[in-house]
Symmetry: C2
Subunit: 355 residues, 2 copies
């Protein structure tokens, strides 16, 4: 059997209707709502076919039809293909004024959650590809050393280290210079054993301290890899959708949002997913149990890979019920990505100022 033009119209009408109402859609409804001007009986025949083909499901004998995962998938793919270029009403992003990367991410994710009315998440950029600008050391107290790491993109990391000696001003200055000489301009991936060995050799009696410092630097940058910071917003939007309201499922989902561990796994899987060729916007849609959300049968996930210039790349996404307004979400996400591109693109000079 083939999915001819009429079947497609009917399928889309069913899905659109179901997305709006959440109720199974009957043949009469379609007969009225579509522009096909067919009687409900004809529609019934077509629907019977569509069910046989696996695009729709009948919850029980005397009910209308609801989309199957295959149906959703078809619908989403057709939206993505049409690539609907009408721009949504764009809420002006205040990204330029934000000086702290953390604030920027929080704003973005909040914005996305409010716009879509679903739960949104964003992962902090990975740092291991970011070059180190410079390192600063100082001594906030006896036996302590404050290490400040400035990465490209003006990401600042700091940590207080416990060391076994007390350094005088000159030693601190010396160590700072040695470390910067070797590490400035390198990304984590470019730090080799021989670099480390060289630095250690030059640091003489402070060898142990320097080892602690280097370990801390590597830790700080690497920590962001396995367990990146993830910011979320609108987790409670999940409770707005009746199909997710059975308290147990909702609680599981929301606590996933609270705990972040599960999200981390999710993000890393999404990051590793290859981006399909025709997908110019990096947008990905996972429906039901697809891909990384296998334990969220009733949810769908829309993700995108964002880039803020300076190699700051991460994942941003929206989680909602399978019965999600895909069109709107995809539109919103696409817009957001375009705005980010415009604001942080290579040719922009306003990319400075995130710390």
């Amino acid at each position: 059997m083939e999915l001819d033009a009429r079947k497609i119209i009917i399928l889309k009408t069913i899905i659109k209707n179901y997305l709006e109402t959440g109720e199974p859609v009957g043949s009469r409804t379609i007969s009225k709502y579509s522009e096909l001007n067919l009687s409900s009986a004809t529609i019934r025949n077509e629907m019977s076919d569509l069910e046989e083909m696996g695009y729709i499901i009948q919850p029980h004998t005397s009910a209308g039809r609801i989309p199957s995962d295959k149906g959703y998938r078809f619908y989403v793919d057709s939206i993505m293909r049409e690539s609907d270029d009408r721009v949504n009403q764009v809420t002006e992003l205040m990204v330029k004024k934000v000086d702290k990367l953390e604030m920027l991410l929080k704003n973005l994710v909040k914005h996305l959650a409010i716009d879509t009315n679903y739960a949104a998440l964003i992962s902090a950029p990975a740092l291991s590809e970011n070059k180190i600008k410079y390192v600063q050391l100082s001594q906030p107290g006896p036996g302590k050393l404050l290490l400040i790491l400035v990465l490209e993109g003006n990401i600042i990391k700091n940590e207080i280290l416990t060391i076994d000696e007390d350094l005088d001003m000159e030693s601190i200055l010396n160590l700072t210079i040695i470390i910067n000489n070797h590490f400035s301009g390198l990304s984590l991936n470019e730090i080799t054993r021989s670099t480390v060995r060289n630095v250690l050799e030059q640091s003489g009696e402070h060898r142990e301290t320097v080892r602690i410092i280097i370990d801390a630097i590597i830790d700080m940058v690497e920590a962001g890899e396995e367990s990146r910071d993830i910011y979320t917003s609108g987790a409670t939007n999940i409770l707005k959708y009746p199909e997710l309201t059975d308290t147990k499922k909702a609680a599981a989902l929301i606590s996933a949002f609270e705990e972040k561990d599960a999200l981390n796994k999710l993000v890393s899987e999404v990051t590793n997913d290859e981006i399909s060729e025709g997908n110019r916007n990096n947008l990905q849609v996972y429906i039901g149990g697809e891909g990384p959300i296998q334990n969220m049968q009733d949810c769908s996930l829309v993700t995108a890979n964002y880039e803020l210039g300076d190699g700051l790349r991460g994942v941003i996404g929206v989680i909602g019920p399978k019965r999600m307004d895909y069109e709107k979400v995809l539109g919103t996400m696409k817009n957001l990505m375009e705005q980010l591109d415009k604001t942080f693109g290579k040719d922009s000079d306003s990319k400075e100022g995130k710390g």
Copy 2:
């Protein structure tokens, strides 16, 4: 009418029972469970009195009784008075090993949420009383200035400022020295206009830059006042309790936990509450609509003011249903506070190492 010993026993039995089961408690239950050896009829008479006195409520004619807010209050006060010194099974806190204040707070609040099975929150310490140890400046890029502020208690704050000039190394060093000369050892409250004026005068042509720096310093310290960072954990525990499961209320509560704004208000009100004389542990219990939680009629809040040494003071608390296991929560909180006291108390030398 007077609350005699027998009435008290009955009242406590009712409340204890209700806390366990969540069901209204009938006279027969008490007749069986209490050690009074009275028939249900006698209990009924007493319960009738207790109801008249406002300690218990009858949801409907043929139901048992549940505690009123007044009843809860009586119960809680009596627990606090008895001050039950049997120590709960203490989970060993890993506070000493934690070098970042943020991690310490997150650990504490998570610990508390898991222990009590309710939602927990903790506010980051206020900073305006903390003295400035020193300030560091550096230049991560053109037109940018990285300001690092080290406060007593080894709290590190950093911010990237946008300035109108490019400074050479020497100027940066000079400015750093000038600022440190005047600001080291001062808390925000001790910074006066004349201090600021002096610094500005000494900074010559870099006057504008220094003004920006000073503003930033004040901002950083002050920001923590009105909108302190608040860490939460276990928000979804709220969904575990049937009386809070009507999705709307739960959503409101959980989203309060997500948004933090409401919590901020709450924390500041709690902070301002005077601590009643006999309350050696700083523990406060707010039941139903009492105090800062007026819009959480079905919840109770248990708070304590913690201190981590070095003047790092904040609020830690647990929010749960009114039908909360007060005894356990109060016990857990008390323990926690004692452990913190022991770990960070004046005579302890392990108070260093938080950043």
